[in-house]
Amino acid sequence: MKKFTMGAVLAVASLAVSACGQGLLGSDDAEDSGPITIGMAIPLSGSSADIGPYMKNGAQMAVDEINARGGVGKRKLRLRVEDDACDPKTAVAAASKLVAAKIAVSVGGYCSGATLPTLPVFDRARIPMIIPAANSTELVAQRLKHVFLINGTGDQQAVAAMNWMTKSGPKKVAVLHDNTSYSKDIALRTAAALDRPGGPDKATLDAVNPGESDYSANIANVLKTHPDFIYWTGYYQEGGLLLRQFRQASYTGGFMVGDGSVDAKLIKIAGGKAADGVFATMTQTPDTIEGAGGWISSYKQKFGSDPGPYSTQSYDAVRVAAEGIAKAGGTDGDKIAKQLEAVNGFPIFTGPLKFTPQHTLGNGGFVILVVKGGAFTLRDDLK
């Protein structure tokens, strides 16, 4: 009896959902002349709250530029931002809100761990996702038709890290991650590459629990393997603390962080001097891209501050989305996805865009930054 009731409830629920779905599409057609909404779920609070506003500004800039040129097929674009707090539960709620708001394309996603559970939400609603910043390989491993990545993957980041380490010559490398999807992905791939002959050796592969203040136990654990280079693949809050505490424990070797740690706060938390000479694997930021000067000055003029990490990727995501919508001639998700697959040579910051069959960038565009005078500066473009 109970089973029957459950079945009935499910049946009614699924009917309601499918009805809603049709309702959605129906009204979309009716609203053909209204503005097209682009959705964005990004962290505006929580552990990565610093990044959200950069991404929002970058996206807004693209939206304004496209609208100034008359929009997409005579329809204006509108950006709708929801906070995912870098937290899986909040992110799913934010994605559902965006789906309910009838967005045409999603251009959000910073924390991979929070972005992963939103994939099915958007995919079920047949909304294409152009993910600008999250870059765990797991995002594209499910081969969802509507999911595209315009950031380098964890795989490509690990390769970049490995290239730099082979080039700059450390002998024993310790790899540290924080057990989140993004961070673990890069760490495991880097560790696997270190295990192969040629290049530096692996000292240890270890993880810390994010959200704590005292990592002295972890640090003692890493230092007993005597590394002369450390690669931290997590985010900047723990990165700053680790850096400071490693230096306090009189570790003098090299230190490199992943792109999740590239933020001015990393240097502040580490306390200035401790961060000097720290390397980072990073997709290109506006200030490391040649010829982005005009873009930077118009960004400054608009928002009154320097463009931060992932503002360019977010800007590009909106432009790619607009391109897809224009080519598809409407907001039908399947048609947009098909057009995105066909994109060839569309100019974005990392070069001409053509998606691989896995919906990722052919070239991750990773570069090596170094902290100099309290700021991240370009060290090597790995070309």
Binding site: S47, N209, A217, N218, V222, K224, A249, K265
Partner: protein, 297 residues
């Protein structure tokens, strides 16, 4: 080895400062004050705001400034603790234990998200950082700021032990822990003593918050959660409600984390610590120094 012990001692003394407030409140009114970790967070933010307000003064004499701020913050968080007790706990005293537990969780969230509204969701970096030379003792690296912080902890804990063991105030607290009704009949102002307990416990948590800010440098509005959990664990290991037991429990927990990480790897640190808690509860549920509680009928 010496390094592991030193790390454990240092982290343990931090846990002890926070755990004492937990333990005192539990000892007296049998309430698990879940908002306690958030008073630690509040202390860190109060100190941050005060240092910010002092501005240029800070850089010329940072250590003095930090100590002044420490005392002021203890008063402020103490008052905040009083407010929490007055608003969230006193009206429910005498109600089933469960409603107190839930109101404690509510108070915790109120403090966390209240701070988020006031100070923003982003992590903040302390304007004053303790920096100092380091030297080697028996093979362990010890820094001057670690010694300083431990000295402050020891002074605070010694003061508390004196207060509870030697003064009229402390006697009243111990009496209420034994039997609040009888105390009321004997003319002790039970409400006032409980309020004072909250003040002292919260002030200690606030002090730990400022010290964490000055030492680690990074503060955020959720920082109280994990340390609250660890302090609770420390209190249970040592014997919740028992002051020397709590300090011992905190040191044991610090050591467990330090050695656990060494033996089984970094990501197992919390698994090890909390796994030990479960093991401990099954073997000796009253904690290391806790007394066997006979149910009064």
């Amino acid at each position: 080895m010496a390094q592991l012990i030193w790390n454990g001692l240092f982290v343990g003394s931090f846990y002890a400062l926070v755990a004492l407030g937990y333990s005192m409140v539990y000892g007296i009114i049998k309430l698990l004050n879940f908002a306690h970790g958030d008073l630690y967070m509040l202390g860190a933010f109060t100190g941050f705001a005060m240092l910010g307000a002092m501005g240029g003064l800070v850089h010329s004499s940072s250590l003095v400034a930090l100590l002044v701020v420490l005392v002021l913050t203890m008063v402020t968080t103490g008052i905040a603790g009083l407010a929490v007790e007055r608003v969230a706990y006193r009206p429910l005293r005498g109600m089933p234990r469960l409603s107190l537990l839930i109101t404690a969780v509510g108070a915790s969230f109120a403090l966390e998200y209240g701070t988020r509204i006031a100070a923003g969701p982003n992590p903040r970096v302390y304007p004053v950082r303790l920096d100092g030379a380091s030297f080697t003792v028996l093979g362990a690296r010890v820094t001057v700021q670690q010694l300083l912080l431990m000295a402050v902890s020891v002074v605070l804990m010694a003061g508390l032990t004196m207060l509870i063991g030697r003064t009229r105030q402390g006697r009243a607290m111990r009496a209420i822990a034994l039997d609040p009704k009888a105390c009321l009949l004997m003319g002790i102002n039970v409400d006032a003593v409980i309020a004072r307990t909250f003040f002292i416990g919260s002030a200690m948590a606030g002090a730990a918050g400022v010290m964490a800010g000055g030492y680690y440098g990074k503060i955020d509005f959720l920082m109280g959660f994990i340390i609250g959990l660890k302090a609770f664990t420390a209190a249970v290991i040592g014997g919740i409600g028992n002051v020397p037991g709590t300090m011992l429990g905190a040191i044991v927990l610090g050591m467990l984390e330090s050695f656990g990480t060494h033996w089984v790897g970094g990501q197992w640190r919390d698994v090890f610590a909390f796994g030990f808690l479960i093991l401990f509860l099954t073997v000796r549920p009253t904690g290391l120094l806790g007394e066997r509680v006979t149910e009064r009928v």
